[in-house]
Amino acid sequence: MNRNSMPGKPVKAIKSVRLHGGIRPPPFKTRSLRSVIMATPVPEHLIIPLIQYGGQIAAPAVAVGDKVLKGQALTRIDLEGICPIHAPTSGTIEAIEPLPVADEFTTYQPCVVLRSDGEDCWTALDALPDWDTSPPEDLISRIHRAGVIGLGGAGFPLAKKLHSLQGRKLETLIINAVECEPYISCDQALVRARTADLVSGIQILRYITGATRTVIAIGNNKTDAIDALRQHLPRTEIRLVTVPPDYPAGSEKQLIQRIVRRQLPRDALPADIGALVVNAGTAYAVFRAIVLGQPLVSRITTLCGETLATPKNFEALIGTPVFFLLELCGVDYQRLSHLLCGGSIMGHTVTDLNVPLDKTTNCLIAGSEQEFPTLPEPMECIRCGYCASACPVSLQPQLLYRHIRAGALEQAEQSGVQDCIECGACNWVCPSHIPLLQYYRYAKYELESLAARRLQSQQWQQRFELHQYRMARKHKSKPQQKPDDRIAGADAAIPQFDRNQARIEIAAAVERARARRENLIASSAQAINSHEPLTAVRKTKIENPHQ
């Protein structure tokens, strides 16, 4: 968002070794790590969201009624920058329509509904086991066609990230397996169980980027994963870096600073300072995409929380409905009160159990009331400064809070609210239980809309001035025209205002609007009802834990 430098412009280094802030919440990972990664059975219906990074919608390449094979592209693969989406299993396209998805506000987004035929039959795969003979551009294009995006949470297309190098030399390739947020354990499970495949995925990335140094970063408390890596890494040039189990040690900016010993300038991309951070799950997806030729149709995701009898890590197909996964873990619907998508700090509440698993869902927490108790009413900020010492980007949250509460958004901007990485560490430490992060999000949103309004008013002013200029020019060229006559004629053309007539027209318009709205509701209800198993909406009390 803040990137205003030219692509490829060299940036000045900010040397800094000391990392600021961070918190150490209890990890809650042991329960889900007790078992191995389990492949889920194929559900009857899969809902594949078409929404992409940055809110773009991928254009469908299939129509309702088409039969597709597993791994066949559902969207067009020729579009620049939009990652294609593939069929997670073989079956028939039943619908392409808006359905609820697990984004922050559980909104309706265009989805492809796929009815499984139970065969789970792969399409012809273009495997490339000897990748080191192909040019890197070819591999990047394969990665794009396989629909590989960042699996750490943000979902940035990997091919786009690799393109951001633009032929520059990469100094450090960082594979991020830190996974610092509580509850999430999918990367740890991946690293310890599929080490060899992961390492060859990293080797492919190393080959593509030509990195001089490749490191894999992992939290130093994940001993089993570290042992697995220690067995596999000696034969490679990949170095292992253990980081303290602090939150947010696995955030891109913090990881770059820890390993490259430089801060990422606010208007630069990691590639500008010769670094690239790729999530471990993404590196594994690269292995599958290149060596096996399999597009990204499944991901490893953690299911945890107190209400699950057997929390575990699943290798789940993209598009599997959430309730299907929860039931595989033996969910206790009576106790389920909070369903979080993502970790317990940054995750957001999901209110509809029919939402599908998408490519970025790394964790689902089915929590009980005891696990996520309602926070007490926020008290006044006493400026204790715990938040300032926890902030990983050295903001002064207590001052920002004061500015935002006072409505001084400009001052908040001056004090750096736009640099907030929204990690939520300040919320975690606040003794007064103030939802600080929500205030910063609000301020960011308000500043954004303020800037948009300002731009719009500038445009209007410009348009008005141009209009005036044109009018003046016209007036000069035709001085003989009598404007008064025209106005008199226009007045006559306007029919007399009739109050009763107006009332009738207003009523008719209201009626039309109501009919349109009811129609819309009915059609969406019908759309949902047409998929019987999906609509078993569980009535559970789900509340935002932060409210």
Binding site: E380, R383, V393, S394, Q398, L399, D419
Partner: protein
């Protein structure tokens, strides 16, 4: 907040030991008025009244004010101080978290400026008058005297004027005596080896200060306060007093030891200047704030006419805190320079 109160306990015990029940009575009085005033405020501001002292911050203010007042202060003096501290300095500004000045110190300074006579009457019930190693200020006799002083209408007979009771022995801290009388009994007491446990008020302050130091270290250890402010306050006072000390000087400025342990420096450094609401909050800002307070403490003590320098210095620091914060914002991740006005 409860930890702050717990950290005050060693100093409260030592202060009571040296100054008698009057000290404890002050604190109890302040606590009572605090509970009453908070209740009234909750009603007036239509706030939820949850518990006698709500967030306990009023109790902290009460303890700090109570321990700063002369022992056995009369009830209306205490009430007035608490009214000003809680109603005017805190709630009129929006309540906890919105007060720009330390409430306890506002109350103290208001009383000091309005009632100088009562506020400098550090009479010690009997201890100093009947200087006797076996005599304890905690005897029953001392309690009745204290109550009679605090609540004159409860006394059976006419109360002797406290100035008569403690003739010539009025002093808040040894520093005052030092200023007023030069090398007097305080230095004599300090020079003699067994001074620490003699119960004259002059050396009692040493132990009270050690009590505050102990409580302050507890707060530091519990990470309730950060080291920045106490260390910089103490450092500033120490450096100033070392720089300006001269035993040949005509001006009586006091030794470093006297400035640190014979005065209110410790309570100021650990308990009053660290009040987060009114203090600076950025890391560099806290050090600047502490140095400013330490410097002003010494400045007012030595070159000013008031000796209750901590209260004034903390208020000066409170005035500057918002500005200090704005000028000392740290460099944000990914920025080349510091943020703030001189960006």
């Amino acid at each position: 907040m409860l930890w702050v109160i717990a950290a005050c306990i060693p100093a409260i015990i030592t202060a009571t030991w040296f100054f008698g029940y009057g000290m404890l009575l002050n604190i109890l009085q302040c606590g009572f008025w605090a509970a009453l005033l908070e209740t009234i405020v909750a009603r007036l501001r239509r706030q939820v009244w949850n518990g006698l002292l709500r967030d306990n911050s009023a109790l902290v203010s009460a303890i700090l004010l109570g321990i700063s007042l002369p022992p056995g202060s009369v009830w209306w003096l205490v009430l007035l101080g608490m009214v000003f501290a809680l109603l005017v300095a805190k709630h009129a500004f929006g309540g906890l978290g919105h007060n720009p000045f330390n409430p306890a110190m506002c109350g103290y300074v208001m009383l000091l400026l309005s009632f100088p006579l009562q506020m400098t009457a550090w009479h010690i019930p009997m201890a100093e008058i009947r200087y006797d190693p076996l005599f304890s200020p905690l005897q029953f006799e001392s309690l009745t005297t204290s109550i009679a002083l605090a609540f004159p209408f409860l006394a059976p007979g006419p109360v002797a004027d406290f100035r008569a009771v403690a003739d010539g022995l009025v002093m808040a801290t040894p520093l005052i005596e030092q200023k007023l009388a030069g090398n007097s009994a305080v230095f004599a007491a300090l020079d003699s080896g067994n001074s620490l446990f003699s119960r004259s008020s002059g050396t009692g302050w040493e132990l009270i200060n050690l009590g505050f130091l102990l409580g302050g270290l507890l707060l530091l250890f519990r990470k309730i306060i950060s080291w920045h402010i106490p260390v910089s306050v103490i450092a500033a006072v120490a450096v100033m007093s070392i720089l300006f000390y001269s035993d040949k000087s005509m001006n009586v400025v006091g030794s470093t030891y006297l400035h640190l342990f014979g005065s209110a420096t410790m309570i100021g450094a650990f308990f009053i200047a660290t009040d987060p609401v009114s203090a600076a909050t950025t890391p560099v800002g806290k050090i600047v704030y502490g140095l400013l307070i330490g410097g002003v403490i010494y400045w007012i003590r030595v070159w000013g006419s008031y000796l209750d320098a901590v209260a004034f210095a903390v208020l000066v620091g409170n005035f500057c805190a918002p500005l200090i914060d704005q000028l000392t914002l740290p460099r944000i991740y990914g920025h080349y320079r510091r943020t703030g006005p001189w960006k």
